[in-house]
């Protein structure tokens, strides 16, 4: 049987149906093996589709054989395929690398549940990416959110609990806002299928409900995406969650929300309303710029290494939003490329931190001084990913910085201000990354590691794999870049 046309459905169904089975796998290690196998399978599916899509294919799938707009449609194009790669890749690498780390943070009898939640989060995030139906996106968003609340709260750190409560409240408000927006659009158009909405929304007589809907949807998703200043849930949630969960979620959770935001705005509104482009950019560009500046500045003075990187994530989300707010082909390409490259850099950084955490209980920066002496390989990988975050040439981060500045230069009279802000925040990123590197390499040790030597081999290998990928995609960025520019073309093609 040829499974190729069913790939979009398999992307969601495989992890979702495996999750309850994983709960049954009590023997130690089996649950991990099962979850990892499922995640790898999902990654293989995503990669398979991405390769076909970069050759020009486009996947459409009608659930249960009911044709759109009445049935639920799944659709995977360049943009969603990029997101799928990030999501499944992050889930698979974190599981593959993280057995020792998870063993040390989650009690054995709760592990099957933990892995089940992991797969549900994966299914939800992948579901968002493949759905072509506004309400379906909401459902998957809530599946992934509920599962990730569980994941974050699953660790031994009690501070994760208030953090996750805050995340739950803000996340639910965001999702509900989105639901209100979808309801309003449905009220005016009578459809939930995104493509159908696009076709019908232009014919609506009274524009006011659509305006309100655009506002609700944008703000709701911005909450989920941690766009500054709606990011307050993010730093603590990332800081106190189990290390591997941070790897997984930091690489992809907020990006999926950005994906929905961009996709909804460009597919449904941008193509139909002249005013939307200027509304979109005049609302999001200042937020993006503020996020870049403020979050970078806060990160420079942050004392806890995970919190520092979490703040840096907020700044990087600002970059992605900024690129999209240009509403140009180049800007969207930069955004999409940065989605991918930032996932690589941040995923690598958090993997390296998970490796450090194997021997250092306290992850405050001053306690990590001199760690490079006992863990040279981990520290080197951390430095490489850090440079990618800064955008040093030869790393993946440089490519997206280049694209973003190139796109910003087209922005008329304010181009110089934009370039200035991007560069200033790159320098701030340099400052905080350098603070980490110098602490690890040059400061005298304050705390002796709990045991000498490097992190577990598989964790180290995967961390290095990601670090090398940062360099590899910095020198040969064609594959993600093709997807990114195809995604931008798709988005702008809808916007005309």
């Amino acid at each position: 049987m040829d499974l190729t046309p069913h790939l979009p459905a398999l992307q969601v169904i495989v992890p979702m149906l495996s999750a309850p089975l994983i709960v049954l796998l009590k023997p130690r290690g089996l649950a991990w093996a099962g979850a990892t196998a499922v995640a790898l399978l999902s990654f293989a599916v995503a990669l398979n589709m991405a390769i076909a899509i970069s050759d020009g294919a486009h996947y459409r799938y009608d659930m249960g054989g009911w044709a759109a707009p009445y049935g639920i449609e799944l659709s995977v194009g360049a943009f969603s395929s990029l997101i799928l790669l990030i999501v499944t890749g992050a889930a698979a690498t974190a599981l593959l690398a993280g057995r020792a780390s998870i063993d040390s943070q989650i009690e054995p009898d709760r592990q099957p549940m933990f892995y089940a939640a992991w797969l549900l989060a994966l299914a939800g995030l992948a579901g968002i990416a493949v759905s072509a139906d506004a309400f379906n996106i909401f459902v998957f968003m809530e599946i992934s959110s509920l599962a990730s609340y569980v994941l974050i709260a699953g660790g031994p750190n009690r501070r994760a609990l208030p953090a996750v409560f805050k995340y739950l409240v803000m996340g639910t408000i965001g999702a509900t806002f989105y639901l209100i927006g979808v309801g309003l659009v449905y009220m005016m158009t009578g459809t939930l299928n995104l493509a159908d909405m696009e076709a019908r929304v232009g014919a609506v007589d009274d524009i006011n409900p659509i305006l309100v809907a655009a506002g609700f949807i944008t703000i709701g998703l911005a909450l989920k995406a941690a766009v500054f200043p709606l990011h307050v849930w993010l730093p603590n949630a990332y800081t106190h969650s189990p290390h591997m969960v941070t790897v997984f979620l930091a690489a992809c959770a907020t990006k999926v929300a950005i994906y929905v935001l961009i996709r909804f705005d460009f597919f449904v509104f941008q193509s139909n309303f002249d005013w939307h482009g200027s509304h979109f950019s005049s609302f999001l560009m200042p937020l993006g710029l503020l996020g870049i500046l403020v979050a970078s500045a806060v990160a420079m003075f942050e004392g806890h290494i995970k919190r520092l990187l979490a703040m840096s994530s907020v700044a990087q989300i600002g970059y992605i939003i900024l690129g999209a707010s240009f509403v140009t082909q180049d800007g969207l390409t930069a955004s999409a490329a940065h989605l991918f490259n930032h996932a690589l850099a941040k995923g690598g950084l958090f993997l390296a931190i998970a490796a450090l955490a194997c021997h250092y209980d306290d992850l405050r920066l001053d306690r990590l001084a001199g760690a490079a002496r006992s863990m040279p390989w981990t520290s080197a990988a951390l430095a490489i990913c850090g440079f990618s975050l800064v955008g040093v040439p030869g790393t993946a981060g440089f490519i997206s910085k280049w694209l973003l500045i190139d796109a910003a230069l087209d922005q008329g009279p304010f181009a110089w201000l934009l370039v200035l802000i991007i560069l200033a925040s790159s320098l701030m990123a340099l400052a905080y990354v350098w603070r980490i590197v110098e602490t690890l390499y040059k400061k005298p040790a304050v705390v002796q590691p709990s045991s000498a030597g490097e992190a577990p081999l598989e964790l180290l290998l995967i961390t290095w794999l990601i670090a090398l990928a940062n360099i590899g995609f910095g020198l040969f960025p064609q594959f993600p870049l093709n997807l990114a520019s195809a995604a931008a073309e798709l988005l702008m093609g809808h916007a005309l």
Binding site: F135, Y149, L161, P162, L168, I180, M187
Partner: protein, 119 residues
């Protein structure tokens, strides 16, 4: 817009007011359980909005029976959607309460300010 027209939007006024009551509760209350109650009210308001918009004047429940094919029905789709949304809301509430229980176990309080002080 005259008074009658304003009253004609009665359900939507209720939706907006209930929505704001819920949101205010989430923001203003320090007690975590009360916050969750507020969140629940907030979500319920949206259910009301969906149910309101599916109502067709003179429409009955969308069940097709023999001999009644000509009847006017309410739009069944929002009802289905909102059933799903209710399920989502209930799960969120359950998970939220579970987290509150665990917070109480490890902090001994469910007042937000006291939790902040504890760390």
């Amino acid at each position: 817009m005259n008074l009658l027209e304003l009253l004609g939007y009665f359900n939507y006024w209720v939706f907006a007011i209930v929505l704001m009551v819920g949101l205010y509760t989430v923001i203003a209350k320090i007690n975590l359980v009360k916050k969750l109650i507020g969140l629940s009210i907030f979500q319920s308001a949206v259910f009301l909005m969906y149910i309101t918009m599916d109502k067709v004047e003179g429409g009955t429940a969308p069940i097709i029976l023999k001999g009644m094919e000509g009847n006017v029905f309410s739009n069944p789709l929002p009802q289905v959607l909102i059933l799903t949304a209710i399920v989502v809301g209930v799960s969120t509430l359950a998970l939220g309460l579970a987290i509150v229980v665990r917070i109480y176990e490890s902090y001994g309080t469910i007042e937000e300010d006291e939790i902040l002080d504890a760390d």
